[in-house]
Symmetry: C2
Subunit: 249 residues, 2 copies
């Protein structure tokens, strides 16, 4: 079936099943090789990259919808997604379907709810859906080199901004680092999210005062250098900090 035919068929089905005007876009960040990346689809139609978003069923809660959408489009299931922003500018997405007339379901005005999650890519098994040529992790440093559809670059940037604001207030790392990790590894994660280098001494001092780390008795073996100290998260304090914030009054 040709790609336009496929979208016309999707449109006919969508009118039965989905609410008009509302969509949801998951921004899944991965951390690997000391860099952040984001999970994107490359569409068959128009060969552009976009977030694995979709529509909300008439009889489905919004929170359920975004999980179903992510699963259907990328194969990724059982992820905790957090709403971070709503994208409601008029004409934000309509022109993407310029080859079609106004009766196409996908071409109407959509207000999109953005959700994000931060995961270790090696934990996730990726399968692209039928509308996509491929589903891939794209490093943030490579985003400038690809063509993103609609306002999806803006949605990714907003998600990253919110993530950066969040890590001043709550801990990160539990889904991203191995169970036992070194302080340099933790620092690399923070540097990847913040997009800047941090002073090692300041980072160690601040991290230790947060009370969410547990220094282990063992060191990491192997390597030419002095064996580095290993840490894990203090489960109880980590969860307390997630719920109450790191700097609560």
């Amino acid at each position: 079936m040709d790609f336009k035919q496929q979208l016309l068929q999707q449109s006919a089905e969508a009118k039965e099943i989905f609410l008009p005007h509302i969509s949801a876009d998951p921004v899944i960040f991965g951390f690997e090789h000391n860099e952040l990346k984001v999970l994107l689809l490359k569409t068959n139609y128009r060969q552009k990259w976009l977030l694995p978003g979709g529509y909300v069923k008439k009889d489905e809660d919004l929170d359920e919808a975004v999980k179903r959408i992510l699963k259907e489009r990328t194969g990724v299931a059982d992820i905790y997604l957090e709403e971070f922003g709503v994208f409601g500018r008029k004409n934000r997405s309509e022109s993407y379907f310029e080859d079609f007339d106004e009766t196409l379901f996908q071409k109407q005005r959509f207000i999109s709810v953005g959700y994000y999650a931060l995961y270790n890519p090696s934990m996730l098994n990726i399968i692209p859906d039928q509308y996509s040529e491929t589903c891939e992790w794209i490093f943030l440093s490579k985003l400038q080199e690809i063509e993103l559809a609609m306002d999806h670059r803006e949605i990714i940037e907003k998600a990253l901004l919110i993530l950066r604001q969040k890590i001043a207030a709550i801990p990160i790392g539990r889904n991203l680092l191995p169970e036992k990790f070194t302080l340099p590894e933790l620092q690399k994660l923070y540097e990847a999210v913040l997009g800047k280098e941090l002073n090692r001494g300041n980072f160690y001092t601040k991290m230790k005062t947060l009370g969410i780390l547990k220094k282990l008795e063992e060191q990491r073996r192997g390597g030419a250098h002095k064996a580095p100290d290993l840490y894990s998260f203090d489960e109880e304090n980590y969860i307390k900090a997630l719920n109450n914030g790191l700097n609560s009054w």
Copy 2:
């Protein structure tokens, strides 16, 4: 005109003007007499209290819509509103219009985008709209005593939760306190938002280390006690902390 007649007329007009399925609800917090309050309407129809929410015009950005809605329903203009959550559970609002059949615009499923703001009530001039008997500030401590429509209690609680998380990360007070204020006054504001008493010594120490306060040369006059020190916000550092967070890495 009777209230049901009024809603039927609104429905006919709304179908022409507004997008279906999307609404916006502003949660305006005020701080007065050392307590937080929230701006609510009491509807003519059913005599329940609700947030001054409304619908999004077909040709209007979402961010514009919520400002227009707030102005039309309460008279409050020129407020900076921040999106804090989306309320998308099915059947969250439909039963409110139980006296009407499914053709009523207001009775369809709505996914509502919540916005909040924190202001000094004495700065705002309140005028209720035609669908409302009154528009009033209700103290949070009195919320349990009134009947709130739909899921609006949940929306207010979520807004308060987000506000509490935010004040660990960014400064508050500039729209709420007089230009010159005392540390006890600032502490009362934090206590009102957090809903708990704070240790005075810890609060003063922490506040001073944030670098957003400027101690003034003058003291407040009058009163039987020792004249208290006056402070104002250090404009430059306050804005920097708003943008980068108080505890940035």
